[in-house]
Every structure is written in C-alpha cells, then in structure tokens.
Symmetry: C2
Subunit: 98 residues, 2 copies
C-alpha cells in the first residue's frame, strides 16, 4: 500500500496528475465516459477551438491517459482506464491512512 514514495516517484505521479488538473482536460475525460469520441465531437461539445482541443488531446495522449484510433479520417479518442484508475490510486497512495 505504497508506504514510502520517493521524490522521483512523486514527481512522476504529480506530473501525470497535473495533466488531469485542467478544466478542459477534465471535461474531455468526462465527455469520453466509457466510450470514444472523435475530435470534432469533443471540440463541439466543449466549444473550443480546434487547435486548442487538439493540443489538450495530445497532452492526454502523451501521458497515456487516453488512446486514439483512426477510422476513415476521423480520429477517435478513448480513455485509458488503466491509467485513469492508476491516478485514483495515486491520489489515494499519496494520502495514506484514509
């Protein structure tokens, strides 16, 4: 149950956690739910510029919080539930004792 976390591990954990800690990215992750959505849908749903949407998606992707898949010329994003679940555990582990 993760008693001792090194600064290195904490740094890594904080980095991943930080990716989620942005209103737009949280909105995206929430919108994805258990399914998948293409960039246009996401963009329309959040009412954000295309480039900005793309940039946030990239960040989520690079940090492995989401996966992407191409179909025709749409790109569908989906949550990487392992990592999302991992973040929950990270928060829990970083606050031991309850």
């Amino acid at each position: 149950m993760a008693k001792e976390l090194t600064l290195d591990k904490l740094t890594l954990a904080a980095k991943t956690l930080k990716v989620l800690a942005h209103p737009v990215r949280m909105k995206i992750v929430e919108f994805l739910g258990d399914g998948e959505q293409n960039v246009s849908s996401i963009q329309k749903h959040i009412r954000l510029q295309q480039a900005v949407t793309s940039q946030h998606l990239k960040l989520l992707l690079v940090h492995n919080l989401v996966n992407k898949r191409r179909e025709k010329n749409f790109i569908y994003y989906r949550k990487n539930t392992d990592i999302i679940a991992g973040i929950i555990n990270c928060v829990r582990d970083c606050t031991p004792g309850k």
Copy 2:
C-alpha cells in the same frame, strides 16, 4: 454519482486537484500522514528552503487541503481529510464508469 458536471464545477475541481499535482506538495501531504507536523520538520524532511515550504503550505491551506494550529511559536499542519477524500472522489467522478 456526479453524472453531469458543469464547466464551473469542473473548473473548481481542477483547481483543487492542481494544488495536489506538484511533487513538493504531494510530498508534504504524504509526510503529514494522519498526524501533524510543524513547518521546520516539514522543511527538513523535504530539504527545501524555508520560504518555499511556507509558500507551498500556504497554497495547501488556502485551498483547504490542510489545517493549521499554533502551539507556542510552532505551527502545526494537518491534512484536512474531508477535502483529501473529496479529491479522490473528484478524480473518480470526473472519470465516470469505472
């Protein structure tokens, strides 16, 4: 189970989450555990300058992640477990479905 989160709520949640998303602050929160520690102890444990420690503590305090209590001229910090637990739920709620 927080099905619909408004952008406002997400923004607020992200803001709080962001406070935790920093290696030093996570280290502090981890060090606090279920007990309390004064600033000097925290500072020595994390090997950080006094001013920086104080600033991070302030941030945690302002966002209600910790409480403080004075005894003599030491100030003891303690986790606000409600909020910490709330963050865990926040992460869970913002990633519905698992």
